[in-house]
């Protein structure tokens, strides 16, 4: 029982920190509320889709910004998608960078765009790391016989 209580506390504390540090926002809570016994892996599934999608978008963005003549509309289209998906799962810091990124696209500011690409890559890898840790703790908790506190 001690093990479970400890893991539960670890989970709650870790989740709280993610919200406090702005990695996640209310939308992530919405995702968790949609998870139930009939679909206990829903959050992991959606987040996995987000990871796949993000990696694709980051590749596209890198390619688009490497071109001799940059097509800013194309870059903007990718950033718009990234902004959308990060918003849908509650990845707040990623979303914020995307907003700045779009502004640079509108201004056709190459340097700004390149800076944002680096930033969004960083924020993405940070939140990915955090979420993977979160899922790991959840798995440990369930394996120890506990349940995820709602």
């Amino acid at each position: 029982m001690d093990g479970v209580a400890q893991l539960q506390k670890q989970l709650v504390d870790f989740t709280d920190s993610l919200f406090q540090e702005g990695f996640l926002d209310e939308q992530f809570n919405q995702l968790q509320q949609l998870q139930d016994e009939s679909n206990p892996d829903f959050v992991v599934e959606v987040v996995s889709l987000f990871f796949e999608d993000s990696e694709r978008l980051l590749n596209e963005l890198a390619k688009a910004l490497e071109q001799k003549t940059i097509d800013f509309r194309k870059v903007d289209a990718h950033v718009h998608q990234f902004k959308g998906s990060s918003s849908s799962i509650g990845a707040q810091r990623v979303q914020k960078v995307c907003i700045a990124f779009r502004n640079y696209c509108e201004e056709q500011n190459i340097e700004g765009c390149l800076k944002c690409l680096q930033q969004v890559k960083l924020e993405y890898s940070l939140v990915k790391n955090k979420l993977e840790t979160l899922f790991k703790i959840e798995k440990q908790l369930i394996a120890a016989g506990g349940s995820i506190p709602t």
């Binding site: 939308q27 919405q30 995702l31 509320q33 949609l34 139930d36 016994e37 009939s38 679909n39 829903f42 599934e45 959606v46 889709l49 987000f50 796949e52 999608d53 289209a77 718009h80 998608q81 902004k83 959308g84 998906s85 918003s87 849908s88 799962i89």
Partner: protein, 171 residues
Amino acid sequence: MATSSSSSSSSSSSSSSSSSSASMGDEKPHVLAVDDSLVDRKLIEKLLTKSSCKVTTAENGKKALELLGLGDGQRTFNNNVCKVNLIITDYCMPGMTGYELLKKIKESPSMKHIPVVVVSSENVPTRIKKCLDEGAQEFMLKPLQLSDVTKLRCQLTKFSNPHKGMLCMGR
């Protein structure tokens, strides 16, 4: 690719909506959700199945029209077309936008009666007005929440069945 899913697993889940499936009517409403984002399609599908709807998703306007029997070269009254009670479409999509899809639906004698809800991550008043003027039932901001979908679900019941609508006390 369009995917079809029925909500058999969640029909009796503990939903916080005060309307049980018995009082909501005999059949679940069938919703066609159109969005180019894989993440958003998964989300909307879950939101809808959790609200006791049958869901079909499409990744673009062209596929959505085909599902409705309005694709190029299709006969208007295609018997293979499933009955759809509501269409939810994203506004920003490559190729055909949600607005263009809305227009095509409202121009079709067989489909124009189907309510269309347009969703967007951007709150642009001219965009909203444009969609509403074209006949959109509603314009909603993304990301959609369960309360938004519950509200739509409720409106659907009232729309199709004024008496049963009174039993819906959703948020």
